[in-house]
């Protein structure tokens, strides 16, 4: 436990000294934020609120990028090797990565909400508890995804290729960039198999529609992301390698596919019985037409 704590402190310190961090964890998310809020939403509070979910989801999902790169660099440079001769365990190393990432991510997300209020006059952020828990679970689960990427790649180049391959579908098919309703029906079906969709749509539901923690679809988002975080963390601990010379185990890729099983099943089920896409549709429609139910307190004048 103590090793975990001191490692977490070191990771936070090192990340704060890293200029790349500043770019990926601070500048890029704020860039997205102002692009969405200022350009897409044209500064209208209700629309900014609608896009807040996707923006926060993007910030949170970005975790896997930096985390996989950091861990692979540590391994390639023989830094992990040095820790290996100490009593530090693989779980200490991995858990400290996740917690450090969480601590560093949170101020950025918090500031996004502050800006939404101060700059774009969004006065109501929906259900705060559900939002907070979704953000937390999302950060942890996407950080774990980064750890898995680090454990199934041998070199930094491979890591970056996999990151790119993951990033594009995650942001384009989940509703994080274009609202889900803009996507063709076929693609919407595919998006129901992606973890990112559950994060983006869960956040939309909690922030925009003020859905509480026990809302059916919020629970589905939370439950699936928790399962996924546990599976990916467990897998990354299993596949963890301290030494640069030790290559990925052959069965590793199979195990990675295993972590996708929860979303495979959930996707099938949601495609058949779920209402996530229709909810996304009506949420989007409410931006244009007059809302059917009582207008939210911060509706555009």
């Amino acid at each position: 436990m103590r090793n975990f704590a001191t490692l977490t402190r070191m990771r936070i310190q090192l990340t704060l000294r890293n200029k790349m961090f500043l770019f990926f964890t601070v500048l890029m998310p704020f860039g997205f934020f102002f692009l969405y809020a200022g350009v897409f939403a044209k500064g209208q509070p209700l629309v900014v609120k609608f896009f807040l979910g996707p923006v926060v989801a993007l910030t949170v999902m970005g975790s896997f990028w930096g985390l996989s790169a950091a861990l692979v660099t540590f391994r390639e440079q023989g830094i992990l090797r040095r820790f290996h001769v100490t009593p530090v365990t693989a779980s200490d190393m991995l858990a400290s990565s996740i917690v450090a990432n969480y601590v560093l991510m949170f101020p950025t997300v918090f500031l996004e909400f502050v800006f939404a209020r101060a700059v774009f006059h969004v006065t109501n952020f929906g259900d705060l508890l559900a939002t907070f828990i979704l953000i937390s679970i999302g950060t942890v689960s996407f950080a774990s995804l980064g750890l898995v990427v680090a454990s199934i790649t041998n070199t930094m180049q491979e890591t970056q290729v996999i990151n790119q391959l993951l990033w594009l579908p995650l942001i384009f098919l989940s509703g994080a960039t274009f609202p889900l309703v803009f996507l063709p029906k076929m693609v919407q079906k595919v998006s129901l198999f992606l973890p990112a969709t559950y994060l983006v749509q869960g956040l939309r539901r909690a922030i925009f529609e003020s859905a509480p923690l026990w809302d059916h679809n919020v629970l589905i988002s939370l439950g699936s992301l928790v399962c996924w975080a546990i599976l990916t963390f467990f897998l990354s601990a299993q596949l963890f390698r301290w030494e640069p010379e030790v290559k990925v185990r052959r069965n590793a890729k199979l195990l990675v596919i295993a972590t996708a099983i929860p979303f495979l099943l959930l996707g099938l089920w949601e495609n058949k019985f779920g209402n996530i896409t229709s909810q996304a549709q009506s949420a989007f429609d409410s931006l244009n037409g007059p809302p059917k139910s009582a207008p939210p307190p911060d509706a555009p004048k």
Binding site: N18, G78, I79, R81, V85, T86, V88, W242
Partner: protein
Amino acid sequence: MGNSILEVENLVKSYGAVQAVRGVSFSVQEGEVFGLLGPNGAGKTSTVEILEGLRDPDSGRVSVCGLDPQRDSQALKHEIGAALQSTSLPDKLRVMEALRLFSSFYKRRRNPEELLKRFGLEEKRNAFYSQLSGGQKQRLALAMALVNDPKVLFFDEPTAGLDPQVRREIYDIIEELKGEKKTIVMTTHYIEEAERLCDRVAIVDHGKVVALGTPRELKTRSGGSTRIEVRLARPEPDGALKNLDGVADAREVGGAYVLHSHRPPQTIVAIVKHLEAQGNELVSLEIASPSLEDVFIEMTGRRLRD
């Protein structure tokens, strides 16, 4: 035997088709500096990494401080300290932070301030790791090996790649540790290092211990004789030089002939006479007291530095 703190019996380790360690056995006494001397790729690092619990052996028995590195690796890690080959620290970690961080991992700890002073890193306490010179990095690596006041220290090629002056600094540090009766297991491919620092040396080649003893024992075993190295204008037939006066052993190594002689003056006269009779010419002649290099040549037929 006294109290051996470390024992290795019939250690075997392969990587795929390559057998890196092929039945290595030795034991190390408490307070001893034990050296594994051999060329690169001889299996020294693999052996040491198994002892540290970083790799699992294929077969063989290993005990360090009474613990099995495979089964009790967690307990063992509290008892050992290591300066590994090809490791580094994060670029943006400061010297003092590194010492503090690593000492925080252990139950038993030494004062990081004292280590900083002792390894001459006081001025660098707030420097980033990336700002240190090669010698400073190595001194920090040795200091970090001591943060838990370990019972056994492992130094894997502690001076590889350092310039001669820095190398001497590292020798001084290791000699000081030796004075404190620390048990040290070190690997090296430098003869000078093994002769100067080690109480006992195991000469390792192709994954096997080919000779083991104190540097003095090993040298006397190699005939305790003077080494004469000659280069000739034309090659001599095998064995022709072996029969000369006083010669205990003669072999060709990389174009030169290395002879060991109990009576150097007589041997030199004999060589000159022999060459005259054969119509051959002497290109160069060197005389040296025997070193561990000779032992290595004798055991393997090759030079250490090849």
